[in-house]
């Protein structure tokens, strides 16, 4: 059986003043089987978020390929990748439409995915209850704290019931009580529902929630002529 995600020899070179910043050294490679749970561990600025963007199709690597179910999707957008393998993403920076309430945001996200109205209501209610967002349903995202916004993102991603869940430092901005909920939840989604999960974290204790871990190497700075990306 082909792995759900296969990253082959990915590397990224950022042109910066006086040289090049190379992420992932000579390249990072890994596979994620259907139903797998992988943590990508690395320090700040080591390319965890860049790797998430590359996996989702929001950024292109300088070298290497991204395969989904055996098909090379390196040049494909997030939408095309998600059409093949339904994917939900939680980014490091909270994402919500500022002019819509929390509830409206969740409804919009699920309606964009084509979830029927009745099912949408049920999923959103369940997800909001889990993350304690019931009282915030009519609030606007800009009036909420960073931790509350993060909970909205997590609620949205889980309500989408994706096959593949990608999370970029999902416990950032969360207090310990919510963090203690999120990790067992992710383990449960993976174990009980077979959801494939890729998560980045800087904290080894959170990475241990996953079945497998990979550790990124620190970036390399090379003093060369800048290259065009």
């Amino acid at each position: 059986m082909k792995p759900l995600l296969e990253i082959r020899n990915i590397s990224v070179a950022y042109p910066i003043a006086d040289g090049i910043l190379r992420l992932y050294g000579e390249g990072v490679s890994f596979t994620l089987e259907e139903g797998g749970f992988l943590s990508v561990v690395g320090g700040s600025g080591w390319g965890k978020s860049t790797l998430v963007n590359i996996v989702l199709g929001l950024e292109k690597p300088t070298r290497g390929t991204v395969h989904l179910e055996g098909e090379n999707m390196t040049e494909q957008s997030f939408v095309k990748r998600s059409a093949r393998v339904r994917t939900a993403a939680v980014f490091q920076r909270p994402t919500a439409l500022p002019q819509l309430t929390v509830l409206q945001n969740l409804h919009l996200a699920l309606s964009m995915m084509g979830v029927p109205k009745r099912e949408r209501d049920e999923r959103i209610k369940e997800s909001m209850n889990f993350f304690g967002l019931e009282k915030l349903s009519q609030s606007y995202p800009d009036s909420l704290s960073a931790g509350q916004k993060r909970r909205i993102d997590l609620a949205r991603a889980l309500a989408a019931k994706p096959r593949f869940l990608v999370l970029d430092e999902p416990t950032g901005d969360l207090d310990s009580s919510v963090t203690n909920l999120v990790m067992p939840l992710l383990r449960g989604l993976n174990k009980d529902h077979g959801m494939t999960i890729l998560m980045t974290t800087a904290l080894p204790r959170h990475a241990s929630a996953a079945k497998h871990q990979i550790h990124l190497r620190p970036p390399i700075f090379q003093t060369e002529q800048p290259i065009a990306r």
Binding site: S49, L58, S77, V79, A88, A96, Q99, D153, R156, G172
Partner: protein, 155 residues
Amino acid sequence: MERSSWAPVVLSGALPRELSDLLAIAILALASIETVFIQLQPFNQPVWFATLLVLVPITCALAALSNSSRTLKEELALFAYGGSGLQIQLRYIVRGVVVSIIGLSPLWLRLLATEGILSTNMILLIASVIVGGLAYATPALKRTRSLAFVEQYKG
């Protein structure tokens, strides 16, 4: 399996809601009213059409540019929710068309009253509205295709 839908992303952003949209509507409305009241005789077609072709796209593009901070958050969220670049462009084209239609309403009314639906001037007015929609989407097209845009997802 659930199939992604275009309608929510396009329709949820169809109505002008920002202050800059309202200003654009006001500018176009003032220009339209001026045209209606000054040109009591049948329109000097090349002149008013050329004026519209300059005024409408510039006004719409400036309105779209002025929304930058909120609009950026909106675009980041829509991509995160699974929206495509094309859907987001269409969302802005529709909003730009709505801004143009409302702003040029005095002209619509005058042409409907004096020339009916199928006239050359009416077709030119429709063309101006479409150009307005395309112009409204142009800043977003440039913004969302840049590397700086996806960098915004990072903390």
